[in-house]
Amino acid sequence: MAATLLMPALAGQNANKGQPAQKVPQPQRKGQPQAAPNNHPGEQILLKLSQMTPEERERALSQLPPARRAQLEEGIRNFQKLPPAVQARRLNSLQILNSLPPRKQNEVRRSMNQLNLLPEERRRAINQELRRMYVMPDDERPGYMSTEEFRERFSPEEQRIIGDLAEVLPGRNQ
């Protein structure tokens, strides 16, 4: 549902350069209660900035030092270059990440960084496993991760990485 709502809005951003984009609804994970509107300030401001015209954004960022402003503008532009479906999926994952307690958020970030450092072969194995868990109902995942078969295939560190990343898997309807 979130993807259905997000895609036209995000597509509008790319199509109408120089024009304010349509309102982007908050990404929402199926089955979860909607988060309070101001629960994720960075995400909210980023969405607002990405909906502005370049001139509006320049004005909004005018209080920042030039280097900082350029860095943020580049990050926003790079995000806008992504296909709308990918933007929607990432925003959905970001919303899930921001809904976690701060400590858990940091653990997930650390695991994502650690996944990047793993050898290609192990990274592929973990991605494959996450894909398998992606189609699994949420309440079946812990049981699956405690099976002997699962534990034999992954080291304790890899199991922890998989567990952390499973927390922010985007909704299956994306």
């Binding site: 101001n38 960075g42 960022l61 209080q63 943020l72 990343l165 985007p170």
Partner: protein, 161 residues
């Protein structure tokens, strides 16, 4: 626990500062404040206000204060024109006793307005603090590209941010 400042439930923080919160909620809030800079700052500011109020003591009033006061009022009403009465009532010295209380109310109001999301929304530009938050969101989006391949195998080859 969800941040009360971000969910516009700052009453719970005010109750905590006033010592009106029950033990269970207090424990949960204290744990939250250990991890939340905004709430920890709010607690510090509230604590400063309460401390200032505790220290403030009204000047003692003499026993015949009321009698002398009414005598003066009667005398003034009988003699002074209206503009002089008005000028007297607006004299700085008359307002001295209420100044600490006024200052305390202003500090509370300023704290509430500054922490209120609506006030932040109204701000025209992006502050340095907000820029940090946007940067964090962009960094997270960058990290989350790893999940593209999971949710959509075809997207695994899409351009990374």
């Amino acid at each position: 626990m969800t941040c009360p400042l971000q969910t516009e439930q700052s009453d719970i923080l005010l109750d905590y500062s006033a010592g009106r919160l029950d033990a269970l909620k207090t424990a949960a809030l204290v744990e939250h404040m250990d991890n939340c800079t905004a709430c920890a700052t709010f607690r510090l500011e509230q604590s400063a206000v309460w401390h200032a109020l505790d220290l403030w003591e009204p000047a003692p009033v003499s026993l015949d204060f009321n009698r002398r006061l009414w005598q003066k009022i009667d005398a003034a009403n009988a003699m002074a024109p209206w503009f002089q009465s008005l000028r007297d009532s607006l004299r700085f010295a008359n307002w001295k006793p209420v100044m600490p209380l006024t200052a305390a109310i202003l500090v509370i109001a300023a704290g509430f307005l500054l922490d209120h999301p609506a006030a932040r929304r109204a701000a025209a530009g992006v502050s340095v603090n907000e820029a940090d938050q946007v940067e964090q969101a962009l960094d997270d989006l960058q990290l989350l590209h790893q999940l593209d391949a999971v949710a959509s195998p075809a997207a695994g080859t899409s351009k990374q941010m």
